[in-house]
């Protein structure tokens, strides 16, 4: 029976993308318990509904997080549009799905790089982010921003993308697909990667479902739940199936995210093919009255958006339940029993977006 030490992990830690604190209780190098602590970047953004009218609030909600920015904006405007009963043009729906899937690609590439960094494979990290630059260039060309796009508004979109640009982007996406293949190969088949990730942090199907896991964390344990199947935006007309794996360990989660990148590229190709013409915005008159709860699929999992309006231009409440908030309890469940060297891998395997969690 070794002696117990307490190692602080975070909030400032080179391996963590965002501040999360875990007090790890160690016996020699095995973890026997973890006490979490969040709240380092709680900005109380939800309270700003009292000061920003409902059109401006979209910009605030977008800035909850830099990685998941677009889909937060989309979730907000979608909820308010449902409260007000506004029907947006078809082209806007397809463009939202297009940018949403592009967000998914950039977010998963970012995560793959961070995961490679966590298990000490720096060159793989650099290459993943190099490929991600191409995706960010597409964002900049179509929306004007690399991280925060400010392109969703209640009633549609602020910007349109013409057909020629879309076709050219289709070609760039084919290049991205080709660039990712050797990297995906390393993630799925390299000996040292397998040695680090296989059998680590196993979450069984029942545990994942009951503990409230969402997104790739849930799907890697064999549960096929994907909020895109609800058919919001243009997803009702696009063909895709939730990507699942059965092992429930870190390697399975890497596999799910890699396959989701390919799936997202395929969905984007479908969007470009089926993109209808027309306007991208309708005029919105009046103020929101009523409440609505909608769910979207962020790269990290299912995000829940609840909006309540009272007839004035300031909303009563806007609530965002982010996927990482739901994944924190499963994280606390899989940490005990692993080695200290595995903690960064486990912390990253839920794809932590702490700025989303704390808002």
């Amino acid at each position: 029976m070794g002696e117990r030490t307490i190692i602080p992990f975070g909030p400032q830690h080179p391996v963590l993308p965002e501040p999360l604190h875990l007090d790890l209780i160690l016996e020699d190098e095995k973890i026997v318990g973890a006490v979490p602590s969040i709240g380092f970047i709680h900005r109380g953004l939800e309270k700003l509904v009292e000061k920003r009218d409902f059109q401006e609030m979209a910009f605030v909600i977008e800035r909850i997080c830099g990685i998941c920015s677009f889909i937060h904006g989309q979730g907000y405007v979608q909820t308010i549009e449902a409260v007000m009963g506004v029907e947006i043009p078809e082209r806007a729906k397809y463009l939202r799905s297009f940018w949403g899937e592009l967000s998914r690609v950039h977010s998963h590439l970012l995560w793959l790089g961070l995961m490679a960094d966590a298990f000490g494979f720096e060159s793989l990290f650099m290459h993943c982010w190099r490929v991600r630059e191409k995706v960010l260039d597409i964002f900049e060309e179509t929306t004007g921003g690399r991280v925060i796009f400010s392109v969703c508004k209640v009633g549609g979109l602020w910007k349109n993308v013409d057909g020629d640009t879309l076709r050219r982007i289709g070609g760039v996406l084919k290049d991205v697909d080709k660039d990712i293949r050797p990297l995906a190969d390393v993630f799925m088949r390299d000996y040292t990667v397998q040695k680090r990730c296989v059998g680590l942090g196993v979450l069984t199907k029942e545990e994942a479902f009951q503990l409230g896991a969402v997104g790739p964390m849930l799907r890697a344990s064999g549960v096929a739940m994907d909020a895109r199947k609800l058919g919001y935006a243009a997803y009702g007309n696009l063909e895709f199936e939730p990507v699942t794996e059965n092992a429930g360990d870190c390697q399975a989660r890497i596999a799910v995210r890699v396959r989701e990148i390919y799936q997202a590229l395929d969905i984007m190709r479908q969007c470009i093919e089926k993109m209808p013409g027309g306007e991208v915005a309708t005029t919105v008159k009046g103020n929101p009255q009523g409440e609505y709860l909608s769910r979207l699929e962020q790269p990290r999992g299912e995000a829940v958006y609840y909006g309540k309006g009272n007839g004035t231009k300031y909303l009563d409440r806007f609530r965002v339940r982010t996927p990482t908030f739901a994944n924190l309890i499963p994280l606390l469940h899989i940490i005990p029993g692993c080695d200290l060297a595995d903690v960064p891998l486990l912390a990253l395997t839920i794809d932590p977006c702490i700025s989303c969690t704390e808002r």
Binding site: T5, I7, V15, S123, T192
Partner: protein, 286 residues
């Protein structure tokens, strides 16, 4: 060891040239790694700029004892190299290097940081992993040439590599641990950060960290010198193989994730047993 003119000249050349050569090799390592990662990389002389900058930094450590231990580490690494380049007893050189590593471990333990403590534990496990192979290397050289003295081994006619091929391969394997490169950079990674922040050297800063960096250059030159001894009769081939071995380590670093200490220990001992012992046994029955 007789102190002759060649001994003194060898020691002086080592003292002066080793940090320069070591620093240049480190700089080249960083540029090659960067190019492999699709980046541009720092200038070749960057390690020297880094050490000069570290030297000028204010010392903000909480406990002053670590300076003594780090100085011990530095001095004994230099003594190790001086013994070898002065033509002395190689076995003594290897044990001097072990003593230097012990100083570094004690320095890490003397700080109050849990990260440094875990780094020190891992460094001890690393030492247990590579020491047998290093000792077998020197023993193999003794069995092939009949002497532990570096001068005699260097002057032996007939390439040692032909007598010690397996030991050479085994030594190359554990060189990854000694150079602190993936997959075996578990206690203190050369380039990257890890879950224990900077591992062994987390609490070192300023001049202490500069001394450690310079000591690593001296140590690298010593290790490469050991590789040179395998091919000593043909200097051109020896230098080529030494440089190739160094860049092989850089290549391996960029193509592997970091393994855990259990893998490092297990694989090193397996290699030591299979390659090292078999070579020694073959030599014994020659």
């Amino acid at each position: 060891m007789d102190v002759t003119a060649t001994t003194v000249i060898g020691i002086l050349i080592y003292l002066a040239a080793a940090p320069v050569v070591g620093g240049l090799l480190t700089g080249a390592d960083r540029i090659v790694s960067a190019r492999m990662q699709g980046r541009y990389g720092p200038p070749l002389l960057q390690p020297f700029y880094d050490v000069l900058k570290l030297w000028q930094k204010e010392n903000i450590v909480v406990n002053r004892q670590q300076k003594v231990y780090i100085l011990g580490f530095f001095v004994f690494v230099i003594i190790t190299g001086c013994i070898m380049f002065g033509g002395g007893d190689l076995l003594l050189a290897v044990f001097a290097l072990t003593l230097a590593s012990v100083f570094l471990i004690v320095a890490a333990y003397s700080t109050f940081s849990p990260y440094a403590h875990i780094g020190a534990e891992r460094e001890m496990i690393q030492m247990v992993s590579y020491e047998p192979m290093v000792i077998l290397t020197v023993v193999g050289m003794y069995m092939a040439t009949g002497s532990f003295s570096a001068a005699d081994i260097a002057r032996h006619d007939g390439m040692l590599f032909l007598h010690l091929p397996f030991i050479f391969l085994g030594f190359l394997f554990i060189l990854t641990i000694k150079f602190r490169k993936s997959p075996f950079d578990i206690s203190m990674s050369h380039h990257a950060h890890q879950e224990i922040v900077r591992g062994l050297t987390t609490e070192f800063s300023g001049r202490d960290l500069a001394l450690i960096e310079i000591a690593h250059w001296y140590e690298n030159v010593f290790l490469l010198g050991l590789i040179y001894l395998f091919f000593a009769p043909v200097p051109v081939v020896a230098v080529a193989v030494t440089l190739a071995a160094y860049f092989l380590e850089v290549f391996i670093d960029n193509n592997n994730a970091r393994l855990k200490w259990q893998h490092a220990l297990g694989s090193s001992w397996a290699v030591t047993l299979v390659l090292g012992v078999s070579n020694v046994v073959l030599l014994a029955f020659r």
